[in-house]
């Protein structure tokens, strides 16, 4: 079996936890975020004939002023940068976190997840900015906690990245 470690980082209240809550196996409560600072969940994704087991490290919400505990990201195969589409500054924080991670651990595969897609009319993040990021090679997902499809495809994206890495 292939296993991989994935991290989820993002600002406070961007809906990281609720984003994955319905799609992962979990034995730990959200209290771990405030105590240890991370909560580990599990998600099995089938790619082709292979099952990829993802250990998802859901890191506590950060803001621009606190230093990210990059130790938690050590050894991960990739990470999800989660931002709230209705609050533009969460995207700033996310990009800041991405910069910190890259500084600490070098380049790692990541995707940008813009959450709260269901509240699209109230979005502060404009389309142009997203397009610009995509042009820079950033993989962007629009998602909502209510939209299972995009959550599954985020995990599948990583799973296929990993199995490609193993195939090569």
């Amino acid at each position: 079996m292939i296993q991989m470690k994935l991290c989820m980082v993002g600002s406070f209240a961007v809906g990281k936890s609720s984003l994955v809550k319905r799609y992962v196996q979990s034995i730990f409560t959200d209290n771990y975020h405030t105590t240890v600072g991370v909560k580990v969940d599990k998600k099995d994704v089938v790619v082709g004939s292979e099952t990829v087991r993802m250990m998802i490290w859901d890191l506590a919400g950060e803001d621009a002023f606190s230093r990210l505990q990059t130790t938690f990201l050590r050894g991960s195969a990739g990470y999800l940068l989660v931002a709230d589409g209705t609050r533009a500054h969460t995207l700033d924080v996310a990009l800041e976190l991405q910069r910190q991670i890259e500084a600490a651990l070098g380049q790692l595969p990541f995707v940008l997840v813009l959450n709260k897609d269901d509240l699209a009319p109230q979005w502060e993040v404009d389309r142009g900015r997203i397009t610009a990021l995509e042009r820079d090679g950033v993989k962007v997902f629009r998602s909502s906690a209510k939209n299972g499809h995009s959550v599954e495809s985020i995990f599948e994206h990583f799973a296929s990245l990993d199995s490609l890495a193993h195939a090569s």
């Binding site: 296993q3 991989m4 470690k5 034995i27 771990y32 991370v38 250990m55 050894g75």
Partner: protein, 600 residues
Amino acid sequence: MKPADSLNPVEAVAKPEEPSAGEWHRLRSLLFADEQASLKALAAKVGDRASLASSVAGVLSEAAAIRSRHDDSITRVLAPIVETSLQQSVRKNPQPLVDALYPIMGPAIRRSISEALADMMQRFNGAVEQSLSPRALKWRFDAWRTGQSYATVVLLKTLVYRVEQVFLIHRKTGLLLGHVQADQIVAQDPDMVSGMLTAIRDFVSDSFHVADEDGVDAIRIGNLSVQVRVGPKAVLAAVVRGSAPERLRVQLSETLEGIHRSHATALNQFAGDTAPFATVERSLRPCLSAQTRAKQPRMPWRAYMVLGLIALVVGWAAIARYETATGWHQILDELKQEPGLIVLESGQGGARTIQGLRDPLARNPLEIIGAERVRQYGIVWDWKPYLSMEAPFLLRRARQALNPPKEITLRLNGDVLQASGVAPPSWVREARSRAPFILGIRAFDDGSVVLTGQDSLERARQMLTSAALYFEPGSDVLSDARRAKLDTLLPSLIALRDGTAALQVGYSIEIVGRADTPGTTAFNLHLSQSRADTVRQYLIARGVPAEHLHARGIGAIELASATSPANAEPAEHRDSLDTERRVNFEVILDQKERQMDATR
């Protein structure tokens, strides 16, 4: 040898003219003679199998020793070879292997058996103790209260320590490489626990700025602890209940080191694929050790008590059964010994049954055994009638058939029925006619029977002795009346004859003649004799045997009148006649004489 022509540019420049092969050869000989010789020797050594073998043989064991210190590849290589060799050896001839193993097999088996027995005894004692003692009841209550199984509660209460789970975690990613857990442990998802454990260790290292190697090596929560050993590539974490001994820490370290050795490549190149670690569980499992409170080895008295109790019950049952069996056999013996009973079949499947033969004259089996025992053993029997030829039954049947008087004793001599005692002749006659028809009796011997008949004899004697025959004065003539009177005595005479014959005694009748007082004594004597003779002659004439009759005249006797018998003649005769002119009878029985045949 390849000529080193163009390899030497210096020489080529110095000497443009090509030297001959011979010159080259000579030059090489001059320069490298020693090396060439040793190379040649070396080549010969390597090329020749025998010398190569002896060279390798010289270092083979050292090489093996050095290699085994580095890894277990020699073992891995040799294992299948040894296995195949053993298989072939056994297939070819198992005897050498049997001989080799024999000295160790016996002691090993004996030891194993004795250990197993001792262990069983201890376990049994433990089980008895744990199910009977007050402490056990309390633990059962705890188990019921906490919803845990009783076994778990017992384990927790008696445990010094137990390793419940062991995690092998990839150090960098926190991904789980291997996991084992003890039986009856309910564990959370080990993948997530592994991740979280790593996160906590990271958290602690980060928070207190310590290097990962120096970080958390134990987490303790009450009675539970997580022992952590950190290797270069992997982390071993053991969840321990109770207080872990020092040797467990050593064991964990050694296990982790072993895994680093055996899975060095897989650990170095780990990128998420856990397949190479499929076998790591085998290394982890020995870490799942446990230790219960060492109990003082003591007499397992509870076990002995329970076993003793069982032995007592079994013994009691056996004795009862034995007694029942012997009782049953005794009943059969008693019945078999009883005359007139033949036990043909007896069985004790369910009810006890007896089938047999019984002479109607035999004792009732119910009397022999007693109704109490028949009920106790639940005996059902079926007796068919038969006639026993045994002596007691022949006698009993003879007694029934002959109905002897109580003075008669019957005996059996072979098939001859012997009677003794006193019996009337009629019975003897009857018995003689009946006895031959009694089954099993051929002849009847009544030689020892004394015949009765006294009554009739006595009556006859009395009749005769009381009778008196009167005569006219001076006459010895029997008148018609006198003859008639004599005839009345004839039955008594016959009775006398028969009676004495039955008693086997002799008899004689004295006919005593008398005369009255007038007249001379001589005359009277003569007259009285004449009168007696007359009567005797008459009786002889009537058929009475003469030899039994004796006539005697006694003359006149004055006192005779005073002894007039009661049974005398009628009064009219007496009135007119003198009672002294008469003839009387005296009966004499001779007991000594005896006739053999009573009925003749």
